[in-house]
Amino acid sequence: MEQVLRKEARKLLEEEKVDYIVGFAPGSLKFSTTPLITKEKEEIASLVINPFIVNNLAKFLTEVRGRVGIVAKGCDSRSIVSLIQDNQVVKEDVVIIGVPCSGLIDIVKVENLVGKDRDEIDDIALQGEKVVVTAGGKKRELPTKEVFFEHCLGCEFPTPQEYDTLIGEPVAALGDKELSRKKIKELQDMTPEQRWAFWKEQFRRCIRCYACRQACPACFCERCFVEESQPQWVSSVPQWQDNLIFQVIRNIHVAGRCTDCGECERVCPQNIPLRSLSKKMSDLVEEMFHYKAGIDRSAPALMSAYEHAEAEDLIR
């Protein structure tokens, strides 16, 4: 599959159909990958496809100047479509190299289950529905259900919805609605006071590094509301009240654009369960307005559309 991808990417550059290729290359840590943004044909040889291609590369489309050939998993391709719906990206400038994705391994889950950090593990191999982890001479088989990212377990669109080339065959959705919403269900079972107390404690730990916002392709505003000083909506120092408002409003602002790529939660250095907010929001969007982000390129974005009568039960 990697050979097919590299051939395709090289062809795009050689035929001058794109200026840049954006894909994944091996990372400098074990079991990691890193985004590759390149004009050079020689660097195409390092493109990879493996269970660690976590980044949502659509993020780079709003800053790379020129035509881009971009490697996109299912969630990424929806982010690209969402950007096109919002007129942030012109379809003619993007060649989508679709990569069907049957799920990615969360290295943190593996580390926790095996009791070793990634640099102490010798090998992690995905074999069908299990993952074989070799560490300290011992092999351990873990079911994918326990080591895949939660958002992968609940994925409904593993095969890119929109693509110019597809690398490999379409794959079936894992689509487990329960496993991918465990934390959300726990929160829904709490009282409002308990929920508020939970989020208050979580956001005390936020340091406002903005990794969540920067990793998210849906956050494409040139000037974020947190950067306004006239008026100042949230403090620039990490008071829990403002940390909470930042994240809640961020989720409301990206409603209808979030494709559950899980990056916000993965990149948070403080392990704040951000996906329990973003996934809940996209569930609300689907329940209330029957809309899923990034499915139909020609459809209006969520907040650009309306029905003549909807949500009237919430309005007096």
């Binding site: 890193t34 985004p35 406002r208």
Partner: protein, 346 residues
């Protein structure tokens, strides 16, 4: 200075003795995130799992958010209240890279202006180091003139020899700290030899290297090469993780909060990676991402050494481990024209 030792299981007792005089801070985990926090009085299990914290110990001296003063206006004028001097604290388990980081940023907070907030904490804090016996593969302290067992920046250095820990006194304070503790014994020559082997093994585990020879000059030669820096910066997403989690980053922003007639002034972490970091009314000198990435690298490896004779990096590797896109400073520096590519990583 003599060397002493203590049994691993007695460390709790020693911390207990210190708790009577200091607020003792040890490695702990919150929601799976390793950090330094107040010792709960009994748990020393961190001696088994601890490698390094996510947020470095600079947060004890320069916290993510700190109140500078509060103020109130009433009929007779303004009243300003400044927080009192910090209570005495003892940080147990700081790694050499983080301790060196504090020594490096000390220079900034004692330069032309003495930062009262930083310094009052600094003078009230004792640093007790813990040698690394299990460095990460992202660590590269050796290249910065450090080792996983470097004791120059701490008051006492503990080294894990198995059932016992060697204790090296590196400052006068050290002797006083150990004076009252009967659980602390004299170390023998055999103990010192054992510790030496442990230390050598630890140093040998640090595989990543960077070439720091003339790095300032090499960077200066590249300064105007926009194409070079655009390539270097391409995958960076301009968040603040690397700078916030760096032991030698110290930038902060100041923010006022006012509600009716009272309020407070706070300071909190800021990052040169943010697009608006250096925006001014007329212009933004670092509007483009490549300019910000260039500034970050040059500040650490060229400008800071120019001002303070020391590279503003301790090789802790957090920026590599926690970067959302695995942007790797060691790769950037080893690919700098003129550098010796001698790093190895799996």
């Amino acid at each position: 200075m003599t060397t002493k030792k203590i049994r691993k299981k007695d460390i709790g007792k020693l911390l207990g003795i210190w708790s009577q005089e200091f607020s003792v801070i040890v490695p702990s985990k919150e929601e799976g995130v390793a950090k330094m926090d107040r010792w709960d009085g009994k748990d020393i299990s961190f001696l088994d799992w601890y490698r390094n914290t996510v947020v470095p110990s600079k947060d004890n001296f320069l916290p993510p958010m700190e109140k500078m003063f509060s103020f109130q206006k009433n009929r007779d004028g303004y009243h300003i209240e400044v927080p009192q001097d910090e209570q005495k604290q003892l940080i147990f388990g700081i790694r050499p890279c983080d301790a060196r980081g504090i020594a490096i940023i000390d220079k900034v907070f004692t330069d032309t202006y003495e930062d009262r907030y930083y310094l009052s904490k600094r003078k009230n804090t004792i640093l007790i180091g813990l040698s690394c016996t299990n460095p990460y593969d992202s660590c590269f302290c050796i290249s910065l003139g450090l080792k996983p067992t470097e004791s120059a920046d701490v008051d006492l250095m503990f080294t894990d020899m198995g059932d016992e820990f060697l204790i090296e006194e590196t400052a006068d304070k050290g002797e006083e700290l150990l004076a009252a503790a009967s659980v602390v014994k004299e170390a023998t020559k055999a103990d010192e030899a054992k510790a030496k082997t442990v230390k050598a093994t630890a140093s040998g585990m640090v595989m990543r290297r960077i070439d720091t020879k003339d790095v300032g000059e090499k960077l200066q030669a590249r300064f105007s090469d926009k194409d070079y820096w655009e390539k270097v910066a391409a995958k960076c997403i301009s968040c603040g993780v690397c700078t916030f989690l760096c032991p030698t980053c110290f930038c902060f922003d100041i923010c006022d909060e006012l509600v009716k007639k009272q309020g407070a002034r706070y300071r909190g972490w800021d990052s040169c990676s943010f697009r608006l970091y250096t925006k001014m009314p007329m212009e933004n000198p670092r509007e483009e991402k490549w300019q910000r990435v260039r500034q970050k690298v040059c500040h650490k490896f060229e400008f800071y050494p120019m001002n303070y004779d020391v590279i503003a990096c301790t090789g802790c590797g957090r920026c590599i481990r926690l970067c959302p896109v695995n942007w790797d400073i060691t790769q950037i520096l080893s690919r700098l024209p003129g550098s010796v590519t001698s790093q190895s990583h799996k």
